[in-house]
Symmetry: C2
Subunit: 600 residues, 2 copies
């Protein structure tokens, strides 16, 4: 067997992109007309190579040698900058951007596959690029022409980097309670005062400048989230000619020392505390992005992208852990099968043991399923932008609305579990830092927390996404899944059986959703939102696995046999988990509502 990458499977990616998603057909659309499958392949080749050569080698060092503050500045490992510079040189920071701002106009789905290579190799180093891309995309959508010229172009070239500054020490998930304020000045700029917590990439010397996107309240605005505005606050002010001017009043006040994801510096930032007074006035200079009090809507654009990005990162960490545990299990011999009676018979490979196979199949179903979901979402983003009709684009938007919390939370939960299984397969060795898998597990544990916790995603799905447009988003998902079920009916006995299982689970989910939305007590309706999110996630992934089963057809190569067998695993071991979950939801269970916290 040829040596395979232990980061991702290119064979799987090719299957998903071309055999399943038919990504090559995008090149018939005007936006992507300059491209062909050959350019997509070439881009994927470049990313795979760069990930192996420049990102993977310092992944462990990012974990052991944490960023630190020296002379008031954040110091990163010296390997981080060359890796990011090499990435910038490929032009791929502007992979999906318009040609007129220097972009390559590649499909998002290709960019997502590229991102997965870098995240699998070194998620901490990749995060600096990811944040910069997300920041630039937000400004391309909501910023002024001048902001694009002065800040976005340098970001797309890799000269500037970006952050997003939402949380505050006293208000983690609750943005309504942020207290950073933005005072207007006569020249149209603002002065920002406040503290921002959990800011990844909040300070470093990777480039010439850092562009912070900061949520703050303009005094006198409405209370809660309706009074939040969005500001661009650069670390260094930029003169009209693009040259760097004074240091702005944003300083790093401390670093958070995390369980994992250590190479991505995570900071507490102070704005406007007087460390620098560039304009002779107090406050950090900030520029309004978009309309006043509409900041959260603009930020949600970035947050939705970031949420799918979190799912992608979780997937990549799960995927590389799976491949590493598979390689270990193929190589390591240990014990004998239960039926073997002769103690002198030679030990067998770990892959011969049923329980190890179960752990490998489970991982495969989680990581390949997640990758398929994430690429599907990437393709939806392309369709949302380029589909032929307005109606089709609207349908796609609804699908993205309802799939985003699942694409964020499902991989974060189950690819973390995959990493847990990867450790277990390694036994004691997996628990040591000599192997990679324990770091993946620690890194991945962040994903159910940041960009909206699991519980926040759950309320988003059940409280908001399934209700918008009179339930049309959930309706779009239902129609999509039913159409796959329809196809399964004529694709052989086994496909039809899987389709019937999925059909039943989906019908149950829709019924339960109606029942929940009929409940007038909002607190009770949402009491088990997390259980709902998990059941919905497993049903969506069962759909993903039926899709892959159908795409594999009757092919008898290892990849297609593996896809079919993993679908079987998912329908036998995983989909049935949703039954007791849906039972609980159907009763409008009040266990948590009825609890008196003093009983705890």
């Amino acid at each position: 067997m040829p040596t395979r990458s232990l980061l991702l499977s290119r064979r799987d990616i090719d299957f998903l992109l071309y055999d399943w998603l038919d990504v090559q057909s995008l090149t018939s659309r005007k936006r992507f007309a300059e491209h062909a499958r050959e350019t997509f392949d070439a881009v994927l080749d470049v990313c795979a190579d760069l990930a192996e050569e420049k990102f993977a080698p310092h992944n462990k060092k990012n974990d052991t040698d944490e960023p630190e503050i020296a002379d008031g500045e954040v110091r990163l490992n010296p390997e981080v900058k060359p890796a990011l510079d090499a990435l910038a040189e490929t032009g791929l920071l502007a992979a999906t951007a318009d040609a007129e701002v220097g972009g390559l106009q590649l499909p998002q789905v290709i960019q997502t596959a590229c991102a997965a290579w870098f995240a699998a190799a070194n998620i901490a180093t990749w995060s600096y690029a990811m944040l910069t891309i997300a920041n630039a995309n937000l400004l391309l959508e909501h910023g002024s022409a001048k902001q694009v010229e002065m800040f976005v172009r340098p970001m797309l070239e890799g000269r500037f980097h970006g952050t997003m500054c939402l949380s505050e020490p006293q208000a983690g998930s609750s943005l309504a309670d942020i207290s950073t304020r933005a005072e207007p000045r006569d020249d149209g700029t603002y002065r920002i005062f406040g503290n921002k917590m959990w800011i990844s990439g909040g300070d470093h010397e990777l480039g010439e400048n850092i562009v912070h996107l900061v949520l703050a309240k303009i005094p006198g605005g409405p209370p809660g989230v309706k009074g939040i505005s969005l500001f661009l606050v650069p670390k260094y002010l930029v003169a009209e000619d693009g040259s760097l001017a004074d240091r702005n009043d944003v300083v790093v006040a401390g670093l958070n020392h995390k369980m994992g994801y250590r190479g991505t510096v995570n900071t507490l930032l102070n704005f406007g505390e007087g460390a620098h007074t560039p304009s002779g006035q107090a406050g950090a200079v900030g520029y309004l992005v978009g309309e006043p009090h509409r900041g959260l809507a603009s930020m949600f654009h970035m947050m939705n992208e970031a949420r799918v990005g979190v799912g992608m990162g979780a997937t990549a960490l799960g995927y590389t852990g799976y491949l590493k545990s598979l390689a270990y299990a193929r190589d390591r011999t240990q014990g004998r099968l239960p039926a073997a009676k002769d103690p002198a018979s030679p030990p067998v490979a770990l892959t011969a043991h049923a329980d190890v196979r179960r752990m490998l199949l489970a991982q495969k179903s989680f990581v390949e399923g997640s990758l398929a979901l994430i690429l599907f979402c990437g393709k939806l983003l392309d369709d949302q932008r380029t589909a032929e009709t307005e109606a089709e684009r609207a349908r796609i938007s609804l699908l993205l609305d309802v799939l985003t919390p699942i694409a964020k939370s499902w991989p974060s939960q189950w690819c973390l579990h995959a990493n847990d299984l990867a450790i277990q397969i390694h036994g004691g060795y997996g628990y040591t830092r000599e192997y990679d898998v324990e770091q993946h597990y620690r890194d991945n544990r962040l994903n159910p927390i940041h960009e909206g916790t699991h519980g926040i995603q759950a309320i988003d799905l059940l409280g908001r996404k399934t209700t918008i447009a009179n339930g049309a988003a959930l309706g779009a998902l239902e129609a999509l899944i039913r159409s796959t079920v329809d196809r399964s009916r004529t694709a052989g006995t086994e496909a039809a059986e899987l389709g019937a299982e999925l059909d039943g689970a989906l019908t149950r989910l829709i019924d339960v959703t109606r029942r929940l939305h009929a409940e007038p007590d909002t607190n009770l309706k949402l009491a088990n939102a997390s259980v709902y999110l998990e059941a919905a996630g497993h049903i969506v992934l069962a759909w993903i696995w039926l899709e892959q089963f159908l795409a594999a057809g009757t092919g008898d190569d290892d990849l297609r046999r593996g896809k079919r067998h993993t679908a079987r695993y998912f329908y036998r071991y995983e989909l049935p988990r949703t039954r007791p979950q849906l039972d609980l939801l159907a009763t409008l269970d009040d266990t948590t509502v009825d609890l008196d916290p003093d009983w705890l």
Copy 2:
């Protein structure tokens, strides 16, 4: 509310020991006649205080400042020895030992509760004591009078420490394949040659000597596990008068650097490689314990104790994480309830949010359920030793046989999950090393691996424990659970309903067990042993929660209301997980058996 310990709940322990297990009644038995509830309480007080004062304060330092090798010796944090010395001074290293060897003849169940305090405070430091106690107990059971005199007494006094040396680098879970050899010498001693891996406490300077219990093969013996013998190999040889003589040929060859549990030094030991030649002959001097080729049986005595000890450690880590996340959730305000419309209303405590309550109830059900199970096993050990009749002692032994793999694996799985939820409740803060919960999670991740992995416990339960004595062990468990169900029928409507649920689940488990044992293909029968272990574990814990529901009676204090409500949580959210598991088992699912590893 008075300040409560964040290690364990003494209120809960008192409820379990006295209201539920009726431990005070043990004092009517001859072995424990010197004791009374007052002495038990005093011992628990001492342990709780010592754990808070001497163990907890250096728990984080054990994590950050790992043991290291300096001048060929292992250096631990300087706080470890004073803590262990203080423990030794209480006499509690000999808590359960006979008075004639200096023991206190306390019940095992009291010792277990004590151990949980130390493990919750600092599992890494506690492990040195736990290993020493387990080692001493094995030698008390299987060693010669001279071995007890020369090695056990100093261990019980805290002057010597103990290890167990089973695994080897090439043979983790598969003891049949160990290659360490023991060559007999004319004087009745042996010379040991080989390498032992994953040896906790394998070297340090905590006391005067270290007593290694080593599995090795005497050349010419039978192959596999039937050729394994047990040897006592001291770090320093001991002269007839008890004074220390030459250094034996056991040297630390390297340290394993782990994800957690870092304060417990974990070593690769080389025996007989010529670093020291105390007798002028090659090989480490070893003394046979018990009969030749019967080493594994002796070691299993210690391993069963160690397995329940692993479950206890997992429980303690889960418990302290629960209490810390509860304290955080009570203190921290964040957001509003879904039904609250006014953004200017004050934020509510985290404990007001349904999803946080769900995570707290889940943790409570896992950690209090695990503690109840572990204490129940402790009480069984006392009954096994002191129950009135031979028949009763035999019944108890069977119960212990079948419960041991569950007592090891269930807390290791679910109290680890509790730690995961404790992080989630803390949000971003929980992911930082500033708080304790991420360390508990990392420490606890070892527990599903050591002392027999999850998969090994599963095969032990389904392949061995449920078959011994024609299924009498499982029969004893069934009878125990049915008797609780019977009591539930007359304990009010709600108790009867829970009892009926449990009865149904148990019947299903017994049916499935029969079906599996009827399968002639052993590999297929055991293919889903892990799923069986997990289903059986949840059913046993449902029994534990019904027991606690009944023990709480109609009491209207917070503790008893909390017990009843947590039982409700467990029956609504947890027990139903077993339904799809038992469905899968009933089909004799062959997904893993049918897999070709090339498809992965």
